[in-house]
């Protein structure tokens, strides 16, 4: 199969995350590669099926559209996926792009979100992953 572009969307309950100081049960991850083998969609431990050469794009939305939320940081084994924070042209909206460098079996990664007017940073404790 040819390399493809896969979008990974983080849907977060900002109010719930701030109230519990945790992303547990307040994060729903989705991608558009279920038909090729991604699993655990709609949970915080999404397993995205990837292959070498795939481009990954992480986007974000809040359950409460008025609440502030941002993808602050994504951390992963840099020999597996090269990550870069980017902005959409002529906007301040951030997305993260990853380039899968080699075939993987299972590579977990951590996302740190910035939420609320105090821009509090909360990271995922249960980790999503890339699977081969």
């Amino acid at each position: 199969m040819e390399p493809r572009t896969i979008t990974i969307l983080s849907l977060i309950d900002v109010v719930g995350a701030l109230a519990s100081d945790s992303m547990q049960k307040n994060l729903y991850l989705f991608d558009d590669n279920k038909s090729n083998g991604s699993t655990n969609l709609g949970t915080g431990v999404l397993k995205t099926k990837v292959q070498a050469g795939d481009k990954l794009i992480w986007t974000l939305m809040a359950l409460e559209p008025e609440a502030y939320a941002q993808l602050y940081k994504i951390e992963m084994d840099s020999t597996v996926c090269k990550l870069e924070q980017k902005k959409y042209p002529q906007s301040d909206v951030i997305y993260w792009e990853g380039h899968v460098l080699k075939e993987v079996t299972s590579t977990p990664y951590k996302i740190t979100f910035e939420v609320g007017t105090q821009k509090q940073q909360i990271e995922t404790l249960d980790l999503p992953s890339l699977i081969g």
């Binding site: 199969m1 040819e2 390399p3 493809r4 572009t5 896969i6 979008t7 969307l9 849907l11 309950d13 109010v15 719930g16 049960k25 729903y28 989705f30 991608d31 558009d32 590669n33 279920k34 038909s35 969609l41 709609g42 949970t43 794009i57 986007t59 974000l60 939305m61 359950l63 409460e64 559209p65 980017k86 959409y88 042209p89 002529q90 906007s91 909206v93 997305y95 792009e97």
Partner: protein, 290 residues
């Protein structure tokens, strides 16, 4: 307590269009997990709507449900819905400005300067000009024109670049080589799914009263569906969302978004408790003063 239930509807649009079903390709999440909603993040969401009543049984507070649809394969939902249109306007302005400032158009350049058009951009090459798509109705009539095609990074896509990503409708037109690489249909930003109606048991029995409303919030694109809930009718009720997805197709040298219609069932679980003081959990009246 008055609640505003937000139901986010996410659709894997290219997968749903490929499989011609929303089954397994649509996900619903609401903001009432802690209040008792079930099946979050699946297509079978049951939203908890916890109403209140007065001592005589009459409804004491208003509960509202909002439905907000999004495509996963799309630009970030944090961008305004009209981001692509705004970028197109900016592209046109810069193209005109560049044309005005070309050698031999001094008079026009003077006018541009008077109007503040001083930035000189290189005139766009043909391969950089975005393909302007149209949205069709059921009968193939074009109802919206000049919708620029964008990739998932917010860059315009020219017609030549769109050829391998958008399927041709006429046989023989497709650029795909048999046995060659398949098109990366998840490369382009898909149009947002639209809810066109809400029907079903909950509507028929007078439990919810849905309608489409206008909103100035740019992230909602001007319109959204909302329903008030009659919490006097307790129990579990199903409802049906009528959803339109848009399939991009190449017709000659044009790209047209064809509507494809689906339905999806979900439920609400309505309860009603006695009205109480939110601070003391006791009866209504004056707050205790210590």
């Amino acid at each position: 307590m008055a609640q505003e239930v937000t139901v986010i509807m996410l659709v894997d649009v290219p997968a749903a269009l490929e499989a011609n079903t929303l089954e397994g390709n649509l996900y619903l999440v609401d903001n009432l997990l802690t209040e008792g909603s079930e099946n979050e993040g699946t297509g079978k969401l049951i939203s908890a709507v916890n109403g209140t009543h007065w001592f005589d049984g009459s409804q004491a507070s208003e509960q509202l449900i909002n439905w907000l649809p999004y495509s996963i394969t799309s630009l970030s939902p944090q961008l305004p819905r009209f981001y692509a249109d705004d970028r197109l306007d900016d592209f046109k302005d810069r193209a005109i400005n560049s044309l005005l400032n070309r050698p031999g158009t001094k008079n026009f350049a003077a006018v541009a300067d008077m109007e503040g058009g001083v930035a000189i951009d290189p005139f766009p090459e043909p391969q950089d000009v975005p393909v302007l798509t149209s949205v069709a109705d059921t009968h193939g009539r074009r109802i919206v024109d000049d919708v620029p095609l964008m990739d998932l990074r917010g860059n315009f896509i020219s017609f030549d670049d769109a050829v391998p990503m958008v399927k041709a409708v006429a046989p023989g037109e497709d650029a795909q080589v048999p046995g060659g690489p398949s098109p990366d249909i998840s490369y382009i930003s898909y149009l947002t799914p639209q809810i066109t109606n809400i029907t079903g048991e909950a509507v028929d029995k007078g439990v919810i009263y849905p309608a489409q409303y206008g909103t100035p919030a740019p992230i909602k694109g001007g319109w959204y569906w909302c329903a008030s809930v009659n919490t006097y009718m307790t129990g579990v009720y199903s409802y049906t969302l009528h959803i339109t997805l848009y399939q991009p197709e190449r017709h000659g040298n044009e790209v047209i978004w064809k509507p494809v219609y689906f339905t999806q069932d979900a439920s609400i679980k309505v309860t009603s408790g006695t009205m109480r003081n939110g601070f003391t959990n006791g009866g209504l009246g004056l707050l205790p003063v210590l």
